[in-house]
Amino acid sequence: MESMIGHGRDAISMIVDPGSFAENWVGAAQMPEGYGPGAVVGTASLNGRPVTILANDAQAVNPRFPVVYFGVIGMEEAYKMASAVYESILADRDKPVGEKRPLLLIVDTPGNGPGKVEEIFGMNKATGAYQLALAEARKAGHAVIAMVIGRAISGAFLCHGLQADHILALPKECGTMIHVMPLTSISRITKMDIERLEELSQESPVFAAGVDFFYRLGGVEEIVPAPEGMRDALARHVELVEALKREGHYEQTGPWSRGALGAERGGRTTRPEVLRRMAEEFAAVSSSYLA
């Protein structure tokens, strides 16, 4: 199966209604040309409905920030994406839940800008700002769906993907990569041989690299078998999420829902126990704190 890595723009065309993508336009605002070139934002329609597109362009190089290329999300990119999210919220602020435009995240990014200037000015703020914007949109009633088409690596996936209501991914046969660190690096650092780690990852998906393990952890809602299926899958999940939100079931969407999904699929099984016991222990002493 053909890899979609580096083809963020092609993915947009495969997903939205033909010819409907207006790059840089979101609501009433237009993003400046050439700003944050590694991030592609704009408005398109999906089955006739306006959607906001947030994607990575791995072909672009940011001339102002030399560590930002090959899909890296730099400061400009992250703030550009955050702006597109806020513009989407603004544009639909008076619309009821279910009619607010969905946000589609097309994910193919290897990381956040790992440079000196980035640290001096605070890359942590940029990625944080985008995540807060997405969370705000989600809680305002927008359906936010991520589609992993290539690389979704560590902090960059947190930035662009893990704040979505639902996360979909192409299968590993498409070259899709979801991980914090490849198993070879884990092997080097933990000094365990790779065979043993592979064996262990079958028992527990918590450290292994790959789409399937994230699926088992509830980190990926659904694996879309082939790129041709992306459009329909996204449309279907927009509907699912909107239905949940219309009924007020926000806890069945977003990062929180992935906890329950993971427990169900045998992923993070200790997490619910931790939460239960903490609540229980607090209940026993709460009267002395909640005056």
């Binding site: 001096i120 944080g128 450290f207 992923g267 931790v274 016991r277 903490m278």
Partner: protein, 320 residues
């Protein structure tokens, strides 16, 4: 379960449990999921890594005055304070309890909410995701960010950064997303760790063994100049506590004005800063300090905290 009160102790040298106990009113701290719960990581044993009864984070509730203070205190000595499944779930648990406590307080004290409004205090000491249970750590980070958004308009979340490991990786943006940040000059805050920057840019551009460079790039004084740290204090438990208490004595809205991100307005302010970054293209943080009116930037690291605070010129804030 630490005896005594170490207000005079160095915050940098205090362990997570001491910090948790000493930041709140004396004797008011109750640890939730304490060592006796023996809630160790289920994943580390198979990898031959040592486990800890608290999984590297002390969580609990205390009081400052009449307000319940929900505390998360990370322990850098245990696997660098990195976030795994249990550690992450404990952070999430604290936020959930604080949000519930807010609902209770809002119902009980609608007219005097600020006096009873819960607060979440995070004493960071972490490099972010724990490699040995990386996927679980990653998902927990996303949950914490989601919960921070839930606190907006309800209760303040305050970051304290002054421990050895600093606050890096995913926790770097978690800290950025909180309402206010208190640091000591010894505190370190960033996203990408120095070694990775060196690997990416080369030793000539960024020498990860140059601690002074790391301090200038990620340290408390730099973050204070940039307005990325709101309050800079001496490396003393008492000083962190005093700053925290003073901050909490202010109306909630005023605390929220410390934020650097979290609204479109603030994002626009940050975009102006990024434009400046592109324009200045600084080789060193000192270039930025000079830009903001510090005539002798090379002297700033040498100054004691009080003197630094009296002479330093900070980035002017645009959004108030």
């Amino acid at each position: 379960m630490s005896c005594g009160n170490g207000q005079n102790m160095s915050f940098l040298e205090a362990n997570a449990r001491q910090r948790a106990n000493w930041l709140v009113d004396e004797g008011s701290f109750t640890e939730l999921l304490d060592p006796q719960d023996r809630m160790t990581s289920p994943h580390l044993p198979a990898l031959g890594e040592a486990v800890s009864f608290d999984d590297g984070v002390v969580t609990g509730v205390g009081r400052i005055g009449t307000r319940p203070v929900f505390v998360i205190s990370q322990e850098g000595r245990f696997i660098g304070g990195a976030v795994g499944e249990v550690h992450g779930a404990k952070m999430v648990g604290i936020f959930r309890l604080a949000l519930e406590a807010y609902e209770a307080a809002a119902e009980k004290h609608p007219d005097d909410l600020d006096a009873y409004r819960p607060v979440v205090v995070i004493s960071f000491e972490t490099g972010g995701v724990r490699l040995h249970e990386a996927n679980a750590g990653l998902l927990a980070h996303a949950e914490v960010m989601d919960l921070i958004q839930d606190t907006k308009g309800k209760l303040p979340v305050i970051s304290l950064i002054g421990s050895k490991v600093g606050c890096f990786g995913g926790m770097g943006f978690v800290a950025a997303a909180t309402d206010a940040i208190i640091m000591s000059p010894q505190g370190r805050l960033g996203l990408t760790g120095p070694e990775v920057i060196e690997q990416e840019m080369g030793k000539e551009e960024f020498d990860a063994s140059d601690k002074s460079l790391i301090s200038r790039t990620t340290g408390g004084k730099h973050k204070y100049i940039m307005q990325d740290c709101n309050i800079l204090v001496e490396d003393k438990v008492a000083d962190f506590r005093r700053a925290l208490c003073e901050l909490l004595s202010k109306p909630y809205e005023e605390i929220c004005s410390c934020r650097r991100i979290g609204s479109y307005e603030l994002v626009k302010e940050q975009m102006n800063l990024v434009a400046l970054a592109a324009e200045l293209n600084p080789g060193d943080a000192k270039d930025v300090w000079r830009y903001y009116g510090n005539e002798h930037p090379e002297q700033l690291p040498e100054l004691e905290t009080a003197e630094f605070l009296s002479v330093v010129h900070r980035r002017p804030k645009e959004v108030h």
